[in-house]
């Protein structure tokens, strides 16, 4: 290293070794500025309450209970793969067929279209008295019925009966599986 470089280095070292003397009011002045800056940025109202930090006592029993709860939730989640898989499955085309030679109109209403008579009823097409419509239905169990001529509810004769005919009208049950067994 050249001499001029060494001299410069020694000067820097000497300066760094020199003790720094701070004004006695330095700490106080710094803290005043810090508190002011924090007060300006601090959230208020509900956000302040949510964000406020407070210490609580840690108890082993509570920690164990929390851990057990997390394990239980995770375990139950792992034991329900079918639900999880099905949640990601989109609607599946289902064909509804009713033989009603004398009918003027046939529609399908059910849980899958919120029993919508006007806006979402599935209107079947007539093929010499064989009415049919194909509609996307999400996986799950659904209750449905055919609405003939806009006034008479008819159960699907080829499907299981729905036992919940609380309103005095027949309906059928449809199970759409999202996964193959």
């Amino acid at each position: 290293m050249p001499d001029w470089g060494r001299t410069t280095l020694e000067l820097i070292v000497q300066e760094l070794q020199h003790p720094v003397r701070l004004d006695e009011s330095f700490d106080r002045r710094v803290m005043v500025r810090v508190r002011r800056a924090y007060a300006e940025r601090r959230p208020r109202g509900v956000a302040a309450w949510i964000g406020a930090a407070a210490s609580v006592t840690r108890r082993p029993a509570w920690a164990a209970a929390l851990a057990a709860g997390i394990v239980a939730v995770v375990t139950v989640g792992m034991l329900r793969p079918r639900q999880a898989v099905r949640a990601g499955v989109g609607p599946i085309p289902v064909q509804f067929v009713l033989v009603a030679p004398g009918a003027r109109s046939v529609a399908v209403v059910g849980d899958f279209n919120n029993w919508g008579l006007n806006d979402t009823a599935l209107v079947a097409e007539n093929h010499n008295g064989v009415w049919s419509v194909s509609a996307p239905v999400r996986a799950g169990v659904h209750r449905y019925a055919f609405l003939v001529d806009g006034k008479q509810y008819v159960a699907d004769p080829t499907a299981p009966r729905s036992s919940g005919d609380d309103f005095g009208m027949p309906s059928s049950a449809l199970v759409v599986e999202g996964t193959t067994q």
Partner: protein, 213 residues
């Protein structure tokens, strides 16, 4: 540990419950139900949600009642009855049951199948076998006149033998055709259950030691 996390969690819970209440007040329902009925339905839905009972089937029941021209009191009775059945089904099947299974089990209960019977089936079937279709078929054949115990035994034997959903659908179809042709419902179910159960895999014949020697 800080309470910041706990407070944030509480805030999320409160927001979620507020959203849930709003969800119960569906505008399509609100416009078509009178105020007392709307209030009663909302209370039932909130109560069900608080108990962990799926509320979607309750809303579907309201839609069905409205579509079928039922009056308010009748809709309330139907929703209250369904709430009770869903709650019983939920307790009988346990936490591992899916919403569809609970809904199908409630339908079976409505047909007259005891909750304890459904709980036994769920316990027997294991966790990975969905009982949505078996419960739906159970409700169907009971509503066609098959005695509850006969129907439950038939479905349990099918599920226990490893029958697929298609096998159980075929069983339902055959039983309903037999009954429509005049067969006694109990006989139809018992006979068809024997034919529908898949054959158990044949065990390899044991070779006696003496024969080997």
């Amino acid at each position: 540990m800080r309470t910041r996390t706990a407070r944030s969690f509480l805030a999320v819970l409160l927001a979620g419950s507020a959203f849930g209440t709003a969800e119960a007040q569906d505008p399509r329902i609100g416009a078509r139900l009178d105020a007392p009925t709307r209030k009663a339905i909302s209370a039932l839905v909130d109560s069900a949600r608080a108990q962990g009972i799926p509320v979607e089937p309750l809303m579907e029941k309201v839609y069905q009642g409205l579509a079928m021209g039922a009056d308010g009191p009748r809709i309330i009775v139907a929703v209250r009855s369904l709430t009770t059945e869903l709650g019983s089904a939920h307790r009988a099947l346990g936490a591992v049951a899916t919403t569809d299974e609970i809904k199908a089990a409630a339908s079976a209960m409505h047909a007259g199948v005891p909750a304890v019977e459904l709980g036994k089936m769920k316990k027997q079937s294991g966790l990975r076998r969905s009982l949505t279709l078996p419960f739906t078929v159970l409700a169907d054949i009971v509503s066609r006149g098959v005695p509850v115990q006969t129907a439950a035994n038939a479905i349990r034997s099918l599920v226990g033998a490893g029958a697929k959903d298609k096998d159980i659908s075929d069983f339902q179809r055959n039983v309903s055709v037999d009954i429509e042709k005049g067969a006694p419902p109990a006989d139809a179910a018992e006979t068809r259950a024997k034919g529908a159960a898949p054959a158990a895999p044949a065990k390899p014949e044991r070779i006696e030691k003496s024969e080997q020697e």
